[in-house]
Structure formats: C-alpha cells, structure tokens
Symmetry: C2
C-alpha cells in the first residue's frame, strides 16, 4: 500500500506540473480567475482519476504524454464539479481538501467563473493536436467526456442529489444517482485510455465492469466517511445531519459495509483479463475500501 | 429591414427545432435540469449568433446542416453565459428575454447545473461525426470555441466586468473587457464557418474585422439601452445606476454614439471582399445600430 501512496503522490506531482504549465497567469485583469483555478486545482486531492488514466494507459501502451493530457483534462472537470458542489446554492461547504473552498477563499462569482473555466479548459486540452495526434480519437474523447460530465452523467447525478435532499430516494434511485454523479467520471478515467488505443471489446468490457464497481465503492466509502470520519482528517465539511439520500440512510451502516465488501470482490474479479499487469488497479480497490479521507 | 427580421425569426425557428431535438426529456429524476435548459434556450432571444453562422456559412458554401450544428452549439454557450450572468452572485437579475430568469423560474442550484449542462452539450454537439464529417475540422471548431468561451475570451471578460464594478476601468480596459465578454463569441460566429470550409486568409481577415466592429458596436448599443431603454421593451433588467464601467460612464453619451457610428462604418467597409453577397451582413450592422432590445 505504501508503494501505491507513493505512486498516487507521483501522479499528483505530474498533473500539478501540467496544470501549472497550461494555466499560466496573464498580466492583466483576467488573472484573478486563473488564480482561483490554480488555487482549486493544484497541490491537493488524491489525483485518483488521473492515476487511473495513467495506470490503465500503461497497461494498454498509451504514450505517457497522451495519458497526462487526458488525466489533466479529467482532473479539471473533477475540480470544476467540486467548486460548484461547494457553492452556497449547492452544499454550501467551507472546507475542501483541507483548505477553504474556492468561494470562501475568493468570492462566489469568481468561484463560479473558475469552475466554468476549468470545464472549458478541459475541452481545449483534448482538442489540441499536441495532446493526441489522431483527430478522430480526440473527438471520441471529447464526446465521451461531454456525455460523462453532462446530463446523462455527472450533472444528471447532481440534479438527482438535489432532489434527494427534499424527497427520499429508493435504493435503485440512489444507485442511479451515484453511478451518474461519481461513477461516470471514474468510468471515463478507466475507459479513455482504451478509446485512445482502439482497444478490443473484451478490454472495454472488463474496464467498464471494474469502473462500475469501484465507482459505487468510492461513493459508499464517501458516505461512510461522512458519518464516521473526522473533518480534520477527511479535509472537507462532513454532512452528519443525514438530510441527503445515501446508502446509509436507506440500508443502515452494517448492510452498507457488506455491500462495499461485495463490490470490492467484484472489482477484483473483473481484472482477471489483465493478469499480473493489474496489480496497481487491484491495490486501488483496497485503497478505496480502507481510505480515511 | 423587415426582410432581416423575418430571416432572424426563421433562424430562431430552425435553432429552436434543433435544440428541441437534442435536448429530449428523459423519464427520470434528471429531467428537471433539462427542463431548465429548454426553458432558457428555446423560443426567445434574437438568435443573432446562429444567424451570423448561417449567413456566413451560406456565403462560404457550408452545408446548412453543418451550419445548424455550429449555430446550435454556439447559442447554447451564449445561453449558459446569460444564465450565469443573471445569478444572485453575479448581476442578480430577475428578468431576461421578457421572462423570469432561470434561477427565479427554477432555483439557483438548478440554474447553475442547467448552465453547466448547456456548455457541456455544446462540446458534445461539435464532437459528433453527425454534425460535421471531418474530425480535424471538429477539433478546430472545439478548440476555437473553448478559447472564445474561456479565460482568454468570455470568462476573462466577465472577470474584468466584475472587477470593473469595484474599480473604474479606463477606456482601453473597457475595450478589452467588451472584446472578450461579447466580442469573442460574436467573432466565433463569423469565423467558425470559415474554419469549417478551409477559407483563405483574406476571408478570415475580412470576417475578423467585421466581427470586431459589430462586437464592439453590439456592446455599445447594449450600454445605451441600459441607460435609454425601457425594461418592458428590452425584456431584461436594466442597470441605470451606473455602478459598472462602460463606454458611457467613461466617454459620455454623445461621444459613445459617435463611436457607434464610426464602428458601423468600419464594419461595412470590411465586407467589400464579399461584394453583393454581403447584403444580410450589412443589414445586421444597421439592425444592431438601431435596435430597441
């Protein structure tokens, strides 16, 4: 596990370096929004999504520079979603990744613009010939990212989450919400390297099953941390009041933990195709299952 | 001019039909955000940007289906910017295009998500092979749209606008702000059909000059309407308190009107290359100059 932590930190460093490179500060009045983007995106967070891109990319022989471009774009979309989730009109949170949320550190209008700009920049990165040489692959990656981030993906999940604050959702609705809200981008992280290397249907199917399992597992452990974690360690505002529809509010803690174990087992099984190349992807399952933040 | 109004209305109808087609309502809890997108994007607004795309596209022999795809994506980015501009943390407006703003009609969180989703959908549309067959052109259009909408374009202009509410901007800063905030997307409307048809440098230069002039003209007439218009006709909240940095607050009304006439003259001159094909683009200049909403 300590090797995995080291690899995650190394990914964080690589992605930070790339974000630093693409988000250069202009010497004019627009610089404030770029400062807010840099504040939100650089130097904190587990870099789980870029790590998945780089790890699957390595298995599928995707050139590292292309994996970095995809991972950076994806991390920007993830950070945009965090900035917006934290806004007063959404979760109204003040702490994220161990520091003040973007609208607290800057102001609400700047936070909204910084989120928008990170989303926009992600598509800019993926559209550049310097990122990936084949324009058909670039378009495929843009298309799949827009679907994963849009109403059929993350935004759809956020909408359901908001509705779930007022009306209790049933187990199948919670599963759909989580699969859209968190699962869609994690799935993109696992599948994007396969799109970029024209991988076979078998590979796509295996990665898709793995991504579905760890996506749901990730959200369940998130819910458990909300109930059992401490904000100092988790590094963000926790929601212990239970006003949201979660697996825990529907199944209770014990059944939720049993579901987590079952998902971890399924995730591991889905990797059989990759044999001894799957080591890091297997470690990620254990990492998510036992995470404290 | 009545022919132009007819053509603008016809463009509105075509784009509405396309938005209606691509934003179909799912039968689940995500439908609320799509309702908000449809509410904001369909049936109102001048459709000036799509009209420019269709008109320039016609001059350059761009197939109409491709022009509609580009125009629809661009209109979605424009509407996303309006939804966000109207938010309580930004201009806090309650009236837009003659009806309640999105956050008033729905709620703030749904409005934020609807804006995000429209931006995301725009990139989805441009990435689809059904929209434009050549993937290199699709990537070019996505790249240019992301630049026009991002920190070097619209978002940069919005950031300057926010700063200008607290610190007075000088004339050159106001010009930069307006050129980014409104000009970048109008320029994209004029240049996208040229990118999509591999037009010559001469054509790009002429369209670029035309776009710069009408972009600034459009913003100046917007400022004049804020001071001289009536909200019933303009259809949105007006800002008569002068807390913003505008050409009028810097130059006064008479000099601002003189600048508008000068820009209209320059816009017309830039069209000489297109000879008698430029009729609709010439009428647009007059339309912007004399608009009442």
């Amino acid at each position: 596990m300590s090797t995995l932590i080291h690899k995650l930190n190394e990914t964080r460093r690589i992605i930070d370096q790339e974000i630093d490179r693409v988000l250069f500060l202009p010497n004019d009045l627009t610089s404030r929004v770029i400062e807010a983007m840099r504040y939100s995106a650089i130097g904190s967070g587990k870099a789980l999504r870029p790590f998945l891109v780089l790890t699957v990319g390595k298995i599928l022989n995707l050139p590292i520079s292309q994996a970095i471009a995809i991972g950076t774009a994806l991390e920007m979309v993830h950070v945009y979603s965090l900035i917006q989730d934290d806004l007063p009109a959404m979760d109204n949170d003040t702490l994220r990744r161990g520091k003040p949320t973007t609208h607290i550190q800057f102001d609400e209008a700047t936070a909204i613009l910084a989120g928008d700009a990170l989303l926009t920049k992600a598509f800019e990165i993926l559209s550049r010939p310097e990122s990936l040489p084949d324009p058909t692959i670039r378009c495929k990656l843009i298309f799949e990212l827009s679907v994963a981030a849009g109403t059929q993906g993350m935004i759809g999940g956020q909408m359901m989450d908001l509705i779930g604050e007022k009306t209790p959702l049933n187990k199948s609705q919670i599963e759909q919400m989580q699969s859209l809200k968190t699962g869609a981008l994690l799935k993109y992280a696992c599948l994007a390297p396969a799109y970029a290397t024209h991988s076979s249907e078998d590979v796509l199917k295996a990665l898709s099953q793995y991504a579905d399992s760890i996506g749901l597992l990730f959200q369940i452990t998130d819910d458990l941390l909300d109930v059992e974690g401490s904000p100092e360690i988790v590094g963000k505002t926790l929601h212990k009041d239970g006003c949201k529809s979660t697996f825990i509010s529907t199944l209770g803690i014990q059944k939720t933990k049993a579901l987590a174990s079952q998902l971890a087992k399924e995730a591991k099984e889905s990797l059989s195709l990759f044999k001894d190349q799957a080591h890091d992807l297997e470690e990620i399952i254990q990492f998510i299952l036992s995470r404290k933040k």
